[in-house]
Amino acid sequence: MKLSREEVVHIAALARMSMSEAEIEKAREQLAVILENFEILKEVDTTNVPPTAQSINLQSVMREDIPGESLPAEKVLANAPDREGDLFKLRPVLE
């Protein structure tokens, strides 16, 4: 069983990731094989079993909000693909 082309394209759109035709074709097959392997979980009875999101027992870790030194703007912006002064320059979000 392969995933449908529409399904793969839909997932890629959710992930905001383009895919070539060849990538879509490969994903239809490879994802299906992996997903098929997940079926094994159906045999496990999880009635009344709570989910585990993380393995330590800490919850809502809080600390005092003490102002400290920030990273220097120049160092942070050195990695920016595009900038204007001390700002990141992005493509228009609303046109």
Binding site: P51, T52, P81
Partner: protein, 487 residues
């Protein structure tokens, strides 16, 4: 190339430095030189940090002269290329971060700096730590120093191969599903994945945040304990690091296993496992018995068979969320040939990520998407609870569990490259440990056809001392960990 210092451990290097038989600058030059010659064949290092290393070595020599040194002072280390070093390119072996220069240090790097460490390079890995062979590196594949036609394991393959090939005395790696232990097993070095929360993840590029943990790859157990003494502890910058006291991990290393109860879970001696691995690990377990441990064979952890599915739902789900940040706006690769914001984002990911990373983003997005969330993600989280419970129950009876690290010896480069599921299976013995968040170590336990075999010792949460004690005792009566590959 001389082999003068290839048998050095952290503790023996420290003795030489303390006795002034050698300066850190001399030792550092030796290792930089060795990387220059050996790494053409092994390819463990993405970036050699020669200038940084020599600056740190000079500082270390001053610390030693002033008597202000610790065990790691002046000793060369490799850092996996997913941990940030201020001002040094940190690539995650990805095109996406090929030119990324972090503006700050990871907490582990900060701690190593404070201990006077000498960083000689950034180690190769599978892209974003996704893989078991380093074949997913966007730059090159690392070769196993024991047989250059084979993989070193992964994702911390560069760290493991670098230590085995003596390109550094030790290395840091990260482990999300076996990424320290499996390559440690494949390269015959000692690799520890600490308890989740034991070591700060601040400055570690995130893959799957509830599973990722940093740990040492070393020549022996004593070295592993020495590194853990430095890098462990709660960090205000990582809210998942725990306020647990950090003991002196070298304390209980005395070679005595009397009274120790060890369980052997039968599900880890899986079908399809190579007979040589089976035999070597069972032989090693009998050694533990001789050392005084009470070994119980045939312990059952039935949910082991569900760990692979649980892992490959949870890890990609977390990854798909973590990797959404690589949208080409603030740092990293950015597709510029458009004025459309969405197209820019979509093409940035398509062209910046390699095939395995994209596969996991797709898997994770699928598992989290409307209509599939309950069947996949939520279900996996519930089975995760059952896997944890099963370990907890076992630890009511046993101090530790012992298993193979991987079901096979190192495989050939290219052998599994086009079969993701086969590749995933090489982590079958290590994945459950991350799911439960507990500590485990891989130590050398023999060879088959001159290729390394690893044994895994799994412990209770925050019981690194117990698994160190067991593996240290084993290393006192064996010399697998002292063997080095001929290069």
């Amino acid at each position: 190339m001389t082999d003068k210092y290839t048998d050095l451990t952290i503790h023996s290097a420290h003795e030489l430095l303390k006795a002034k038989k050698l300066s850190s600058v001399e030792l550092t030059r030796y290792y930089l030189d060795r990387i220059g010659k050996i790494d053409q064949a092994v390819r463990a290092v993405v970036t050699v940090t020669g200038d940084l290393a020599l600056r740190q070595a000079e500082k270390a020599d001053k610390l030693i002269a002033g008597g202000k040194d610790g065990p790691l002072t002046g000793v060369p280390v490799l850092i996996k290329d997913n941990m940030c070093i201020d001002g040094i390119r940190t690539t995650c072996s990805s095109k996406m971060l090929e030119n990324f220069i972090p503006p700050y240090n990871a907490t582990v790097v900060e701690k190593l700096n404070n201990a006077g460490a000498v960083i000689v390079g950034k180690a190769n890995m599978d892209e974003f730590a996704m893989g078991s062979s380093t074949e997913n590196s966007a730059f090159f594949t690392t070769h196993n120093p024991w047989d250059l036609s084979r993989v070193p394991g992964g994702s911390s393959g560069g760290s493991a191969a670098g230590v085995a090939a003596c390109e550094a005395v030790y290395a840091l790696g990260s482990d999300t599903g076996g990424s320290i232990r499996q390559p440690a097993g494949f390269c015959s070095v000692t690799g520890l994945k600490p308890t989740y929360g034991r070591v700060s993840r601040y400055g570690l590029v995130a893959f799957a945040s509830s599973l990722d943990q940093i740990g040492p790859l070393t020549k022996d157990v004593l070295d592993s304990a020495l590194v853990m003494n430095v890098i462990s502890g709660q960090d205000p910058k990582d809210s998942t690091s725990v306020p647990e006291t950090v003991p002196d991990f070298t304390k209980g290393l005395n070679g005595d296993l009397k009274g120790m109860k060890i369980g052997i879970p039968k599900e880890y001696f899986v079908e399809g496992m190579q007979p040589e691995v089976d035999a070597a690990v069972k032989e090693a377990i009998r050694k533990l018995e001789e050392l005084g441990a009470k070994v119980e064979w045939g312990v059952s952890l039935p949910h082991t068979r569900h760990a692979l599915a649980v892992y490959y739902i949870i890890a990609p789900s977390e990854a798909s969320a973590n990797l959404a940040r690589y949208d080409g706006s603030k740092y990293g690769f950015s597709y510029q040939d458009t004025n459309n914001m969405w197209e820019g984002m979509e093409k940035t990911k398509q062209l910046g990520f390699g095939p395995e990373v994209k596969r996991r983003i797709m898997l994770g997005t699928y598992a989290l998407s409307s209509g599939y969330y309950d069947a996949y993600y939520l279900k996996a989280q519930k089975v995760r609870t059952l896997i944890r419970r099963e370990f907890n129950q076992a630890f009511e009876k046993y101090d530790a569990l012992v298993t193979p690290t991987s079901p096979t010896i190192p495989f050939k480069i290219g052998e599994k490259a086009d079969n993701p599921l086969q590749m995933y299976l090489s982590d079958i013995c290590t994945l459950p440990v991350n799911i439960a968040g507990i500590p485990a170590i891989s130590i050398p336990a023999g060879f088959a056809k001159n290729l390394p075999i690893g044994m895994q010792v799994i412990g209770k949460p925050f019981a690194e001392e117990t698994i160190f004690k067991i593996s240290y005792a084993y290393q006192q009566v064996t010399d697998w960990h002292k063997k080095t590959p001929k290069l």
